[in-house]
Symmetry: C2
Subunit: 249 residues, 2 copies
């Protein structure tokens, strides 16, 4: 079984480490720039901790799960095959003296909420067939959804994930603000939000669309814009997104 | 038990009728401007059909579930207590010779997808205590989540529902377009979209936010805008929503 070094103890590193160990992989060493975090995670993974990149023990594979901006610098000190876990960074930014690749799980992670990796898509890419096979094996142990994806596609996927998820969450946030100002419990929207996100598994988002913009219900749209006339930011967002829905009909 | 006339055989009328009958209510008559639709739904509800508003049979309550624009005109021919099911129309637009009210289930309905009403919030309002009690009783039979809400609050709720749901769905649509152009299966985003909509049940959307805008990851934001430079509409949306997330930090 592949022996692994885990570099980074953030949300993704933590969840990935736990899932790898659960699937029988041995994490030989955990690195974090904070010794405390490294030790904390290493204990959970029955592994060794370090906060010194010059003390890394060679293994079959380093999984580099640090901030995008640090990946390149960290990688220079990793002298064995390695992958990073970022949606946006090129594998060419990794140490080119060794086989390199990408192991990108497409999910939003929190340190303290355990995730089930089996439903999380993992996008992989590698500079050698040998490394690609190795990380494909690991990805398939963890998840039922493994995709081979090169850098340019991964960049488009990351962009679409930001649109579908971060921007949706902003919509929840704006709705929460409207509710809050008007003493309406935000919980009242939970089931509608859930149904909206479920619908698109059964039909395309285009077919799933409803509401005043979709119906060209100008009276309601004008009423909403009137309600927003003292909130320039939300007025602009409402206007732009409503036009965009109308353009798509 | 309250005897009901159902006016309208659209998505909401259909689901509401089915749920009322399941809960033991008697639907005396179903009206639709299309005789065929009236008959089709009446058969399912063990009821009578009509396409003539002058032939309505008096019952305890008419539930008017027609297009917003038609509510007022239809109501003039309903000569007994009545509610409409709209999020945006005032109950003052109903026939003021009788007790009137609002019975607004906050959900997105499809004719052929049966919904479980018990988790759907129902917002009610009425011009008399007697009617309010009557529709409160019905609402509580159908749902665990019944809210008393006046017109101005209901308008704010409807606005926030458009933002949280129609606009989120637009984000799914835009992401789908990006995926499609780049031959990426949209399904790859399903679990991320689902997790995003789940998270806000456990924490506020503000705390749940992730991504480049939240992290002020300018490099990634610039990379995304560069990818969108030939798509003026999406460029503008990305720019505006990213600024909005940054402003909220």
């Amino acid at each position: 079984m592949v022996k692994i070094t885990l570099i980074g103890s953030g949300n993704l590193g933590t969840q990935l480490g736990l899932s790898l160990v659960k699937n029988g992989y041995e994490i030989i060493q955990v690195y974090s720039k904070s010794k405390e975090n490294a030790t904390l995670l290493a204990e959970k993974l029955n592994s060794k901790a370090t906060d010194d990149l010059n003390q890394l023990i060679d293994t079959d594979l380093a999984i580099i799960s640090v901030n995008d901006d640090s990946i390149s610098n960290v990688s220079k000190l990793v002298n064995f095959p390695q992958v990073h876990t970022s949606g946006t960074i090129s594998m060419n930014d990794l140490n080119q003296n060794y086989p390199v690749g990408v192991f990108y799980p497409l999910q939003t992670f929190s340190k303290n909420t355990d995730v089930l990796f089996d439903q999380i898509p993992i996008c992989i890419e590698a500079s050698t067939n040998n490394l690609l096979e190795k990380i494909e094996g690991i990805a398939k142990e963890l998840s039922n959804k493994v995709y081979f994806m090169n850098e340019s596609k991964r960049a488009k996927l990351h962009l679409s994930a930001v649109v579908a998820c971060n921007f949706s969450n902003l919509m929840y946030q704006l709705a929460d603000e409207i509710c809050d100002e008007n003493e309406i419990p935000f919980e009242i929207l939970h089931s509608l939000i859930e149904e909206t996100s479920h619908k698109i598994k059964k039909t395309s988002p285009t077919k799933a669309q409803t509401g005043p913009a979709k119906r060209s219900d100008i009276k309601t749209i004008e009423n909403h814009l009137d309600q927003l006339k003292n909130n320039a930011e939300l007025f602009e967002i409402y206007n732009l997104l409503t036009k965009s829905i109308i353009n798509r009909k």
